[in-house]
Symmetry: C2
Subunit: 338 residues, 2 copies
Amino acid sequence: MHGVVMHSPGDVRVEDRDDPTIIDPTDAIIRLTATCICGSDLWPYRGVERVDHKLMGHEYVGVVEQIGDDVKTLKVGDFVVGSFVISDNTCEICQAGYQSKCVHAQFVSGTQAELARIPYADGTLVATPGPPDADLIPSLLAASDVLGTGWFAAVAAEVGPGKTVAVVGDGAVGLMGVLAAKQLGADRIIAMSRHADRQALAREFGATDIVEERGAEGVARIRELTDGLGAHCVIEAVGTEESMLQAIHATRGGGHVGFVGVAHEGVNLPLDQLFFAEVHLHGGPAPVRRFLPELIQKIWNHEIDPGKVFDLKIPLEEAAAGYAAMNERRAIKVLLTL
Amino acid sequence: MHGVVMHSPGDVRVEDRDDPTIIDPTDAIIRLTATCICGSDLWPYRGVERVDHKLMGHEYVGVVEQIGDDVKTLKVGDFVVGSFVISDNTCEICQAGYQSKCVHAQFVSGTQAELARIPYADGTLVATPGPPDADLIPSLLAASDVLGTGWFAAVAAEVGPGKTVAVVGDGAVGLMGVLAAKQLGADRIIAMSRHADRQALAREFGATDIVEERGAEGVARIRELTDGLGAHCVIEAVGTEESMLQAIHATRGGGHVGFVGVAHEGVNLPLDQLFFAEVHLHGGPAPVRRFLPELIQKIWNHEIDPGKVFDLKIPLEEAAAGYAAMNERRAIKVLLTL
């Protein structure tokens, strides 16, 4: 079968490799219907993160092709959406809603491919109510990571009715954070973006205000818009020191920051600034599995259309062109068809 | 009147200065009954924080001697406990329980003295039900900062019934965190301490376990004690990178860290470690005013005896000796009598 391999920064190839097989009785093999390129895939692409013949991809929807003997909730032929972190969904940590920190957690890798092996299939995959119409595929795929991650960020930031929410980062996750904030009933949603296409999509997803300034000026604008107090809730979807400080300082004392931008080794947060800001900070790799049943239902009911975030759709075989487009910001997010 | 001045690191003197007077109509002047030395006073004493003729002291209990025309809830003669941060207690931030981030917030300074001027007296001071018996004075004084801070840390860490709590830091605030965790109904309270006297006091305040190891070994011990998962709640009461990482890694995924150790400029938190730990982090200067009415009542009813944390009581005039005793760890916390 074919799959995407990153040999070294910038060197993305589609190569033939062996079909995956059932190893553990809790495994499933799925045939991918669609997959995509993540903003976090750009870190190794740009050489910020080490990479050496890595099997790429951790977002996926597809059809169950084979199951291990212990898989109970899925059957061959089911259409499934999975989380980017494997989870048993039964341990104490999973039961508390933190499937991304499951005692059996492992990051998915290799789903930019025709087939994938998914361990702990019962705990990781969620079947849709039936075979989805083609127009739902992009949204279901979004649920697998960016929507689930943006949703988690909004929940971590305690977004709800009566709240003013600011969103730092206008990539796919930030835009999904806007959509989640709207769904969770926020009064006012301020998207921080300086790109016209992303501003337009943010407004479509529910943003009420756009702030183009960054850093200290961006913080000052958020404070101006909130009677000098700062936002109740801030979603951080970048992962740098600058973006974290922008998020923290844009939040009122006692307010909440939900952060999901992947932080890299060597990125530090000045502890004194965090201390004196006196905000709540919560984030990390999103426990997407917690939200999947609810998100799938909302998509199934056509209540939300997160699939709009994919502004480029190309065949898996052209993955290298997709990486280049995202890297050069010619695309917000690239869907790979199979 | 006499008051404590720190001229430079290690140089603490009791000097004569003018009596404070009412400046704003919302001010009160109080005559101190007792005051004390804070662990945070040791930062400038040790030269970690700049200091130049600073008026010391921010913990205080005393009797109202004079009030401005706009003070409504207090009268001359009232015995009062105050927070170490001035607050109006009416703004939107105060009403949300974050008086330490009040729009009129300022840090108290100069209460190691015979008299002190307290701005926004109505919003900052709380009167006791009547003149307290002498044996209650140390506990009421503790409420002014260390108890209120330890309590906030426990609340920020979401301590409650069924929870296992670990406490990093065995200074006065950490010990008050143990007391708060006990009061808030924690099942198990693990104090991290390698000093016999502090271990004994921790047990007296409610600790069920003691861990002497620090850093990675300390984290490993906490994990051993919690089925490999980590504590639900961790109180951090030191303020260094090492103590913060110890707290974060001792917490289970999805768990809560309440941090109140004062972080200094230049102390950094590795953001990737915070990200992948996936804990909740909340802390900062405690909004003591939020808790004062409840804490005063518990002390008044003899339900708690936080005053035990003062293991050295000396006259204000001997403040320099008190600083030396705390700096050399001969005393946990020093009460200054007047």
